[in-house]
Structure formats: C-alpha cells, structure tokens
C-alpha cells in the first residue's frame, strides 16, 4: 500500500522530525520504493509462527532492590544543554494537559 505525502507528514510529526514540505515530497518516493520491496513478505505463510521475541528460555533477569546506583563520572551540569537550580529546562508548553502537546 503506497504512502501519501500526508502520511509522511503525519509520521514525521509522530517522530518529531521537523520535515519540511520539500523534504517530505522527496522522501515519499524513496519510502514507497523501499516499502514496495517489503511486499514480498506477504507471500510467506506465517500461520502459527511465533514472532521472534526475547533471548533464551530463561527470560528477563532481575536484580535485587538495592544500590549503589551507576555513578556518573561527570554531573548533569557538564553535559545538559539547559539547567537551572538543578532542573532541566525546556521551552514552556503552551498547554500541558497531555503528552501530545509536546
């Protein structure tokens, strides 16, 4: 199923990529070519086949509920783009009612 330029704009927004309209137009063709090759998968019979998931029969390991935490050789202040009084700063959300505002 081919993607439209609206689809590309929508997924670019989901991924916060800031794709310009020209760039979106250019990439539609590339994505459709690539996705075209994926259609071959639909010819494979996967009835009853489990999705490849997880590693080993053991399952996820667990750790005890204790420290010490992993140390940082340099504090946040050494690499954070914007910090004040220990808080990370970001531009204020115009509305902060939902995750989709960000």
């Amino acid at each position: 199923m081919p993607i439209s330029i609206d689809d590309v704009s929508h997924i670019a927004t989901l991924a916060r990529l800031g794709l310009s309209d020209e760039r979106a137009a250019a990439v539609v063709g590339e994505l459709n070519t690539i996705l075209g090759h994926m259609d071959a998968l639909s010819t494979v019979n996967t009835e009853g086949v489990q999705e490849a998931i997880g590693v080993g029969a053991r399952g996820t390991p667990v750790r005890s509920d204790s420290g010490p935490p992993l140390p940082l050789a340099r504090a946040l202040a050494a690499f954070a783009p914007s910090l004040r009084d220990g808080f990370l700063l970001v531009p204020r959300l115009s509305s902060h009612e939902s995750v989709d505002d960000a």
Partner: protein
Amino acid sequence: MSTPSPSAATLRDETVAGTRGPPAAVEAAIERSRAVGAGRAGLNIFAWTDDDDARSHAAAALEQMSDTDPGLLLGVPVALKDNIATLALPTSCGSRILAGYVSPYEATVVRKLREAGAIPFGKTNMDEFAMGSSTEYSAYGPTRNPLAHDRVPGGSSGGSAAAVAAGIVPIALGSETGGSVRQPAAFCGIVGVKPTYGRVSRFGLVAFASSLDQIGVFGATVDDAARGLRVIAGYDWLDSTSAELDVPEYHEAGAGAVKGMVIGRPTEYFPESLDPRISARCDAALERLRALGAEIRDVSLPHTEMAIPVYYIVAPAEASSNLARFDGVRYGLRIEGDGLRGMYEATRSQGFGAEVTRRILLGTYVLSAGYYDAYYRKAQQVRTLIAADFSRVFASGVDVLFTPTAPTTAFPIGAISDPYEMYLSDIFTVTANLAGVPAMSQPIGRVDGLPVGGQFIAAHFDEMKMFTAAYALERALGAEARA
C-alpha cells in the same frame, strides 16, 4: 611508508617480555596514523583522537606489566567505533546531534579492554547511528578505503576497518546490526567477527536496533580478532540480553582441525546473479577446506531472500524508538524553535542526516496504528522462519556454513545513491543478525586488486568452531588471501 602494526600476540608477548612497552606501542600507532594520513583531510579514519589520552592508557597498562597473569591484550592499542561510550573522547555516532558529547560513563567492553591491558586508541568514523553500508552517511565526511583511496571502506564500521587495514592498530571494535563489521572487513581485506547475540555486552553501545546490535571485532588476522573477542565477551548483568555463559579461549581455536568438519554451502548465497569472480574465490576457499579433510555439503536456507525486507522493517522500527531520546533536553545538540515541539523538531531535523531520517520515518510507519500487523508483526514472524532455517541446518550435522560476505567488492565513493541499492550490500550478512548466530569474514583473495571476503557462520554460541575453521583457512590460503 610505515610498517603496519605488529599483531596483538606479538605486542603482548613483547610487553610481557619487557622488550617493548605500551608507551612505545602507542607512539608507534600515533606515528603510523600520521604516516598513512588517517586525519580528516586524508583517509578520515578517526572522528576523534586524543594522543594524550592514549598515552595515559598506555601508562595504566604499564602498571599491569608486573601482574602474575598479564592481560591478554596487554600493550595492544585498540581503536573503538564512535558509538561505543568512552569517558575521555566523545561518542558522537557519526552524527551532528551528538557532536562533542562526552559520555559520563564507560561501555562495559571498554572497561574489559582496559582490564586486559589494552590501550583504547581513538574513536573511529562511522555511518551515522550505524545506519549505512559505506561510511558515506557520516556527518564527519566519508572514510576512504586504505587499499583504494577513491573507494568506500564499507560500513557502518568503516573507520574501524580502515584503522586495522591501514596497519595503525591490530584490533578495532565495531558494531553489527546488519553486517556492519563483516562487510567492511570484506571490503578492506581484514578479519571481522560478529559474535552470537548476547555474547558481548551492549551496555554502552549506542543502540540502533536493540534485538540485532552486537559489538564486533576487527583483526588484522584471525588471531587478532579471536583475542579481541575473548577479552570483550562475557556475561554482563547491566545488559538484560547478555548470555550467562563462560567464554571459551577463542585464540586457542587454531589448535583445532577442520578434518571431519561438515561445512555447508547454502545455495541461496550463491545465486546466478552473483559476480562469478566472487563465487570462484569462495569455491576456491572451500576447496582448500576440503583438501584439509572437511566435508563440503550443499544446504538450503530457503527464507534467505526475505532477509532484506525483514531487516528493513525490524531494524528501522527499533531505531525509530531508540533514537527518540535525542531531543535536545538532557544532552547533545539543542536548537531552539517555536516552543517545545519546535525545539524537538529543529534539533532533530538539523541533528539527523538524510538516511537516519529516512529510517526513522520507515520505522515509525511500520509500527504505526493500522500497519503494525502487516509490517512489524509479519516481519518478526518471518524472522523466526529465517532463524529456524539455520537451526535446522545446524541440527542436521553441519558444523559451519561458508558463504561470500558481500555481493561486490568495495565500490567507489558516491557510486551508490539509491538507498535500496545500498541496502542490498547487506544481502549475505543480515541473516546472521536476524537469527542471532555468530559469523565472521576473512580475506579470501582479490578481484581487480580489491579484497574479497568469505564468511563462516556457526550455530548460537559456537564461535569456537567458527574460529577453528577460520584459522585453518587462513593458514591454508596464506598469501593468496591477499592476492
């Protein structure tokens, strides 16, 4: 013209014997690096170097010289791909979005290298976030193949491959998601190993596709690569996908023999369309193995042709999620924009290159509502079938498989502009990543003066068998491997 680096074994033996110290080894590596023109204006092998940092690691290695059981890599300089976290040099993953970012913690493999006496030596250039097959997608410019300066070294670990191929260091670490160690090894005429998924800790490897990523090892020879893997492999509780298994002495696999080994030749890796000169080199290598007493058996891995479509759904999907953390909030590049969303979008549009953007779009799409079942779920199911192909063949009595590593030799820089055509460079390598099985490439000859790689693939955690065959083939081919 400087002489290439001595092997890891030689460096270590000399260090232990006291005839050469780590500081001298580092100075020699620095000199070789300068002599071959490894800098930005030349081969562009390194994204970041710090001679003083290398010297300080050499000094630390000096302390270990009097240990009763000196580390396996004592005094050996090892180059590291720019997506492996180090404390002194930046970890920028070939991207603008992490330009100059210095990690405040160290990857487990780097700690293991240092504990074994190795000397971390520079951060090597790579395709941005490991997405690429030529190192042309780096924000820091392409790396040139040391054997042919107008050609690519392969990717995404092109810088690490070049560092070894140029003789600067005997060992370098790279990373594999779809062949990013084996394919550059083939293009550069050196050895490249991808361990079993879970064999080497991913803690400190910047994630591209978490269910596929593994740190891999380049070596000038099989022995160099085997030593490298022996040191970095092993259980790490900080990585929940790490295997709780002992690590065999890979560097002793050379003592084993291929006599009696069953070597599978999968028909799907020798298609009609394959360059006959490449398949000829592979068959010549198989003949050498047969002469040593191995049985060569035709086998089939029927789902091989689905590997690229599966890979290019699963890997971008996971990547789209793994790269969401690059948002300008806690580290890395930040570009202000109109509000918070504007900041996210300006940062990510200016920070990510075209290929990364393309893959994030692809990955987001195949996970999105309405498409998950048709794409991602389907791909993961076919992946199970691909893995089952390998299991079935190994269970039938085959010890290792042998195939070409790449469908072509190193192509010229700028020759491939179509993304999908670039993806096809991984056609023989991605299957091992999808199945999680170990695989390694080694030089098996030249075509038009350019290196050709042959690949061994083994069953899960059976690297020992793979190395046994590799050591034997290397011995048998001798100088022909580079002819």
